[in-house]
């Protein structure tokens, strides 16, 4: 059958790209070869619009053993141990089939971890949904959470943290970002995704190949429109049981030393795994497609190469060991099959019935073009930023207002979500979900590692640079509050269509904001993922650069809780409250507005604050620490009360004539700590040395939260909040259930 002219456009290649391929091949590619280029040069696999921007990130530092470029980043935590981490989006599949979409997202990110020879020790997930008034939102939330639970629980990896947020912009395009973490003993060289050693056998390991998710890679690179509901078979079903066996078998196989290279099959399946392994190793790979185990009859080479069937790996073994490798996998009930070998010529060569059906340089496939699209400042910004929230009336009953905020969807406790996750399996979770950061101890050592994911997309919408910098700062602050030194970031950048100048402007502003924060706080980026085309019928989601971060606690004695610990302890606010109400949850919940200039961030100030806290914790001065984020100071204090099971009496100096800004403003670089009375002087001295404002604001006492406000430190002022902790806590605990009812 003659090929339609310009058939490559249907596969997603532009005329220029096709011409480039033909020129560099010095011949016209055949149809299969063209299809291989189309997936490898898709946005999803090729990072065409983001690669240049991503190069701005700092990627090295004292902890970094492996930065971006491998399947996951690797961090040195001493004693020949390392932490491996990576985050990835599964937004589009989850929009269509929430359970399987989210489940296979977890499966994929876990494979990136154990591919490196690391045992997965934790999952996190960062979720964003649309309006809870829309019934489908509840269905999507329930399905995604059940899918994450189903997969993580079955594989025996604890899900220890994450985020769930609700903004209308995500109604048609939810965000499901899954992060995984592994622990590696690196007494031997890291397992790497490269093909080396001419003549070494190449094996396909795991599930048989079916017609799942063909076009998955290109699908993720095209805006979702209403027609994609028809595009359905592009969703795959996950098999967490197969994954669990694959984990155990792969980790055992890597230990034998027989495995030269290993790579999971993610987007674009066999094509991308073979091409990336060959490219990294500087070798070629020859695959006989007739040998690839398949689930369905009459599969075409195109289908075999592009299938995104789950729970599969590509592996290069040392020549002569393949028999032992196959037996090892068989013991775990996992099929391993030799399908080809490593060649000297750096070509990806495919055979069928003895005939060569594709033969292209792997490096060319892996070398997608890089674009820098036009960028322009969105027109909505001036109007949104010039909105002045201080003229709005502040409700009289601030106790009730606090209750309303505590039960609002973005602030309320997410226990109905994380209760569905086995967060305790592996018996290392010393701080379970619910605190600023989750903490995993490392058995046999005094060490622990802390993790968090953070991003406030409303800030990013209202000021991308500031919002992205704040995301890095908040993640880091969350870790520091638990007593951990931040080590590195894995980021998941969720944006709209980058070919639109306004979206690309948001993207590059966010990158710049993150880069500044990374540099000031000295935290490199070691892995990540970009998800573009998060749009519904032309409207982009808020820019959402999710920051996943890992921190190290060298001595578990420094582990610091977020809740108040003892009656009589003093409550201290570190940092400064400014008259900032733009982009707050107060505006959203009370006035229904997503407007204003978001809180400013002074990275130097942030850095001093975080250094101070770490130092104070080290000096044993801090009984508890909790950072201020959504909902501001009043919510932060209330949460510290709930977590510790104590009440508090608080006195705030009102220097700005707006009680809403004082109590619910979201000024950055603030942390509420509690200290024993005897430590106050030392703390104040230390804060002075670090030039961090340090204000005594109250005392842990009783079982109620009482907040008094006065404009004069000598006048006892007016009680603005007064409620039993149990009452406030019950609203905080019931908020999500209520919203979902």
């Amino acid at each position: 059958m003659p090929l339609a002219t310009n058939y490559w456009q249907k596969l997603g290649l532009t005329n220029e790209e096709y011409a480039t391929i033909a020129k560099r091949l010095e011949r016209v590619p055949n149809e299969l070869e063209t299809a291989l280029f189309a997936v490898m040069w898709s946005e999803h696999c090729g990072y065409k619009h983001s690669r240049r921007q991503l190069r701005k990130f700092p990627t090295t530092g004292p902890f970094v053993l492996q930065g971006p470029g491998e399947n996951a980043g690797v961090l040195d935590i001493g004693d020949n141990q390392a932490i491996v981490m990576k985050i990835e989006s599964h937004n589009h599949p989850s929009a269509i089939e929430p359970y399987q979409g989210a489940a296979t997202g977890v499966g994929g990110i876990l494979r990136d971890i154990f591919t490196m020879g690391a045992r997965p020790i934790a999952n996190l997930n960062s979720l964003r949904f649309g309006s809870l008034q829309v019934p489908r939102t509840k269905y999507l939330l329930a399905g995604c959470v059940a899918g994450i639970a189903g997969y993580g629980n079955c594989t025996g990896v604890p899900t220890i943290g994450g985020e769930v947020q609700f903004y209308d912009c995500y109604t048609g395009n939810p965000l499901v970002n899954a992060m995984a973490v592994g622990l590696l003993d690196w007494d031997m060289p890291l397992a790497r995704g490269s093909a080396v050693g001419v003549g070494n056998p190449v094996l396909v390991v795991g599930s048989a190949t079916g017609r799942d998710g063909i076009h998955g890679a290109t699908f993720a690179s095209v805006e979702l429109t209403d027609t994609s509901e028809e595009d359905r078979p592009a969703v795959q079903v996950g098999d967490p049981f197969a994954e669990k066996l694959l984990i155990e078998a792969c980790l055992e196989a890597i230990k034998t030393g027989f495995i030269v290279g290993i790579q999971d099959m993610g987007a674009a399946g066999l094509t991308s795994s073979a091409c990336e392994m060959a490219d990294r190793g500087g070798c070629g790979i020859e695959i006989d497609l007739d040998l690839v185990p398949r689930r369905e009859k009459a599969m075409t080479p195109y289908e075999l190469m592009l299938s995104e069937s789950q729970e599969r790996m590509l592996m290069v073994a040392r020549k002569g060991t393949e028999g032992q490798v196959i037996r090892l996998f068989d013991r775990w009930g996992v099929k391993a099959t030799v399908v080809g070998h490593v060649t000297a010529d750096s070509q990806l060569r495919l055979l069928q019935q003895g005939q060569v059906i594709a033969d292209v340089p792997a490096s060319l496939l892996a070398d997608a073009p890089v674009y820098t699209p036009a960028a322009s400042r969105p027109t909505y910004l001036s109007k949104a930023q010039s909105f002045n929230p201080h003229t709005l009336p502040v409700p009289a009953d601030l106790t009730e207002l606090l209750g309303q905020l505590l039960e609002s969807p973005n602030i309320t406790s997410k226990w109905p979500v994380y209760e569905q996750y086995d967060h305790m399996v592996q018996t290392n979770t010393v701080v379970p979900p619910g605190a600023d950061a989750a903490v995993i101890r490392i058995k046999g050592t005094k060490k622990a590692v802390a993790f968090t994911t953070d991003c406030n997309p409303l800030y990013c919408y209202l000021d991308p640079w500031t919002g992205a910098a704040a995301a890095v700062a908040e993640a880091s602050r969350n870790l520091v509050c638990s007593g951990a030194k931040p080590m590195a970031i894995t980021d998941c950048l969720n944006f709209g269509n980058p070919e639109k100048p306004e979206v690309f402007w948001q993207f590059s502003q966010c990158i710049d904001g993150m880069v500044s924060a990374c540099r000031t706080l000295d935290i490199p980026v070691i892995s990540g993922n970009v998800s573009f085309y998060n749009e519904t019928n032309g409207a982009a989601v808020y820019p959402t650069p999710v920051v996943g971060m890992a921190g190290l606690i060298t001595d578990l004695n420094r582990l610091t809780p977020m809740g108040f610990q003892e009656q009589g302890d003093l409550i201290v606010l570190l940092g400064e409250t400014l008259p900032e109400l733009g982009g707050t949850q107060y505006l959203k919940v009370v006035h229904g507005l997503e407007q204003g200039t978001p809180p400013t961030i002074d990275l130097g100030k942030e850095c001093r604050l975080q250094s101070l806290i770490l130092r104070a914790i080290e000096d044993g001065l801090v009984a508890s620490a909790h950072d201020c984020s959504e909902g501001g100071l009043a919510v932060t204090i209330a949460e510290a009360c709930f977590a510790g099971g104590h009440g508090a009496t608080v006195f705030l100096l009102d220097h700005m004539e707006n009680k809403a800004a004082l109590l619910f403003g979201e000024s950055q670089s603030r942390v509420v700590i509690s200290v024993n009375e005897r430590q106050l002087a030392s703390l104040q001295r230390l804060a002075g040395a670090f030039e961090v404002p340090c204000q005594l604001i109250g005392r842990v006492s009783g079982q109620s939260l009482t907040i008094r406000v006065s404009s004069d430190p000598d006048i006892s002022g007016q009680i603005v909040v007064d409620a039993p902790i149990t009452e406030l806590k019950s609203r905080y605990d019931q908020g999500l259930l209520k919203a979902l009812a």
């Binding site: 059940a146 639970a149 189903g150 629980n153 079955c154 594989t155 025996g156 098999d239 967490p240 049981f241 197969a242 669990k244 066996l245 775990w332 009930g333 994380y418 209760e419 569905q420 996750y421 086995d422 967060h423 305790m424 399996v425 592996q426 018996t427 979770t429 010393v430 101890r441 058995k443 578990l556």
Partner: protein
């Protein structure tokens, strides 16, 4: 005490059990592969939590047919101690080694959290270190822990004292609010009539160190350890007599 922890394809609390047993003085533990049929030299066999065979078909059903279960059956019949935790209990039910069956949680959701349990029988080899009616905190983590048995069976469990753990309030009442999964009579764990087989949904192996939030699970393992020691002392005395 020598324990064997069975590893089925899909078990995922096997390492946790081995680690927890390592925290118990005078206990040793080793994994037992699901294809193995040799349990000789063991005092106690533990069927750990997890998702054996993916929990496909019914939780525990496929695992209950694996070769090791033939051996476990013989081991129990000759008086060996068998502890099934979570998925392990589901396997014991499917194998018919304990009565009743497991249904999905009433909420149909997986639940992972601490619960309060009342210890109702302190005369089993697994519970001698608890006191009667003691309230303990252990984590649960399951999607199918809604235990069911018919009326006659329930009466038998009650009259034989086979109910070992019950979900309870802080004051010890087996209220419906305290029931996390819909289990009949708030049952959280039962034993065989002889007491040497125990099945329970909560995870004692997750509560043996204070840094994890509770040490209330340690007594399960310490009880078996003490019981085994006692048994072997009696055994020695008898053997000594025949010399």
């Amino acid at each position: 005490m020598k324990c064997g922890v069975v590893v089925f394809p899909g078990s995922n609390c096997d390492h946790d059990c081995l680690y927890a047993l390592g925290q118990i003085p005078n206990a040793t533990a080793a994994p037992v592969w699901h294809e193995s049929t040799d349990l000789s030299g063991l005092d106690c066999v533990i069927l750990p939590g997890g998702f054996s065979y993916g929990d496909y078909l019914r939780s525990g059903s496929l695992a209950s047919h694996s070769p090791v279960m033939q051996a476990v059956r013989r081991f129990a019949a000759s008086g060996g101690f068998v502890l099934g935790v979570c998925n392990g209990w589901q396997v014991l039910l499917e194998a018919g080694m304990l009565p009743g069956a497991m249904l999905p949680n009433r909420s149909l959701k997986f639940r992972c959290r601490y619960v309060t349990l009342r210890v109702d029988n302190v005369h089993t080899p697994f519970t001698t270190q608890y006191s009667e009616g003691q309230l303990i905190q252990l984590p649960i983590a399951h999607g199918e822990g809604n235990y069911w048995i018919d009326d006659a069976g329930l009466r038998r469990l009650q009259s034989n004292g086979q109910i070992v753990f019950t979900y309870a309030d802080r004051d010890g009442t087996a209220s419906s609010e305290a029931n996390p999964n819909g289990s009949i009579a708030n049952i959280a764990g039962i034993c065989s009539p002889e007491g040497n087989i125990l099945g329970m949904m909560p995870h004692p192996e997750r509560a043996v160190e204070s840094i994890l939030g509770s040490v209330d699970g340690a007594a399960v393992f310490a009880s078996v350890q003490a019981f085994t020691q006692c048994k072997s002392r009696v055994h020695h005395a008898i053997q000594g007599g025949t010399h």
